[in-house]
């Protein structure tokens, strides 16, 4: 059963949310007659990662996050994992083991509508072959209560490109939509050049943005950079999510991109997941950030 909950009530129900970020076209009310809902974005769980200096709880962090999501008083309509489900390995057998273990862990989520997409750690070494043995397509669309969701794969090609074929598919899918359609895009890498020298970009991401630009209500949620980042290209907001294994430094804030070490004084700092609610008086989405544990 779904019921409408307003923003204040949502936060009260959630109880453990910390940061709220309003996203979208301010002043554009959600189309009348559409039912509000919220979903959870989880990202960059890097299952199989093993470095105690970075995360001594590597074997339980994802499980704790699953428990925390399950503890939400109101459960989301669905959950979206935006890539790097597993940490990369050269060993194809080990890659499959990690994908299988990841799938088993997230099968404990109360919500059964769970959707996935690969990150470069899952898919770039074999063009997504192992990933596709455990999960369905790497790029696809779905609709939910009037919102059109588009999942773009910018990792199966190890160059970090979407590729002409998928761009053509994107154009065809967008061609089916009205210019006022409400669109949410999920990607792993940022579509825009956030920090190309740190490989935080998509080589042909500008082509996807060009295709999306004629639509009035588009919001992109992505992963890859293991931290919140909020950016706008034209009228399109892009929001990155925290990871669930290790945080990374702010874009170009250090000479080199390095995993930030675990701080025993503040375990799980910089890790978490988020909810995204369609309910908002002025704007499209309310984004609420959550820590891994309720603590």
């Amino acid at each position: 059963m779904n019921r409408e909950i307003d923003r204040r009530e949502f936060l009260k129900l959630a109880g453990i949310g910390s940061v709220v970020f309003a996203s979208g076209l301010h002043g554009m009310a959600y189309a009348a007659g559409k039912e509000d809902f919220f979903f959870i974005q989880m990202s960059d769980s890097h299952w199989g990662f093993n470095d105690p200096r970075i995360n001594p709880d590597a074997k339980i962090t994802l499980k704790k996050a699953v428990e925390t999501v399950n503890s939400l008083t109101t459960q989301p309509d669905f959950i979206m994992f935006t890539g790097d489900l597993t940490h990369t390995t050269d060993d194809g057998k080990e890659r499959r083991k990690r994908l299988s273990e990841f799938r088993d862990i997230v099968s404990n989520l109360k919500v059964k509508d769970v959707r996935f997409m690969p990150g470069e750690h899952d898919a770039s070494l074999d063009n997504g072959a192992a990933y596709l043995e455990y999960f369905e397509k790497t790029h696809y669309t779905f609709q939910h209560k009037g919102v059109n969701f588009i999942v773009i794969d910018n990792v199966s090609d190890p160059t970090g490109s979407i590729g002409d074929s998928q761009l053509q598919w994107l154009g065809t899918e967008l061609g089916k939509l009205d210019k006022d359609a409400r669109i949410v895009v999920f990607t792993h890498r940022p579509l825009f050049d956030l920090a190309p020298s740190w490989d935080w970009a998509t080589r042909d991401g500008a082509k996807a943005i060009d295709l999306l630009m004629p639509f009035r209500s588009v919001t992109v949620f992505y992963g890859h950079i293991h931290q919140e980042n909020h950016h706008v290209t034209g009228h399109i907001p892009h929001h990155s999510a925290k990871g669930l294994m290790y945080p990374l430094p702010a874009p170009l804030s250090l000479p080199k991109k390095v995993q930030l070490p675990w701080d025993p004084a503040t375990p799980y700092k910089g890790l978490g997941f988020r909810s995204i609610s369609t309910k908002m008086t002025y704007g499209d989405y309310t984004v609420t950030e959550y820590p891994v544990t309720k603590g």
């Binding site: 390995t89 070494l125 160059t159 190309p196 490989d199 991109k257």
Partner: protein, 122 residues
Amino acid sequence: MRLLRKAAAFFFLLVVWLMGGPVGPGAHAGSEKVIKITAKRFEYNPSTITLKKGEPVTLEFASLDRPHGFNSPGLGIRTDILPGKASTIHLTPDKAGTFPFHCDLFCGDGHENMTGEIIVTE
């Protein structure tokens, strides 16, 4: 026929020049400095390259294991580095500074650390 040959030769030279080949104005003659760079997981050798502003140079790449990339956004240069296939970049740095480069073809656990820098001196 002679005219046709001349036109073909011109077209060939034009294509080579446009592709950054070894002919044409201001290009890389035999005296141009050549720096050989090898790439293997997860390092470049050398990983620090020092160049002089205004001095043309050829960067010659070879992969010792699998496909890699070489991308220096600050200098606007990139190439794939594929095993068994030569790849080169001709460059005349027009600004001094330190310009990081990185592998932009995902190559495994350690890919993020496959970096280096080009230092351009005055």
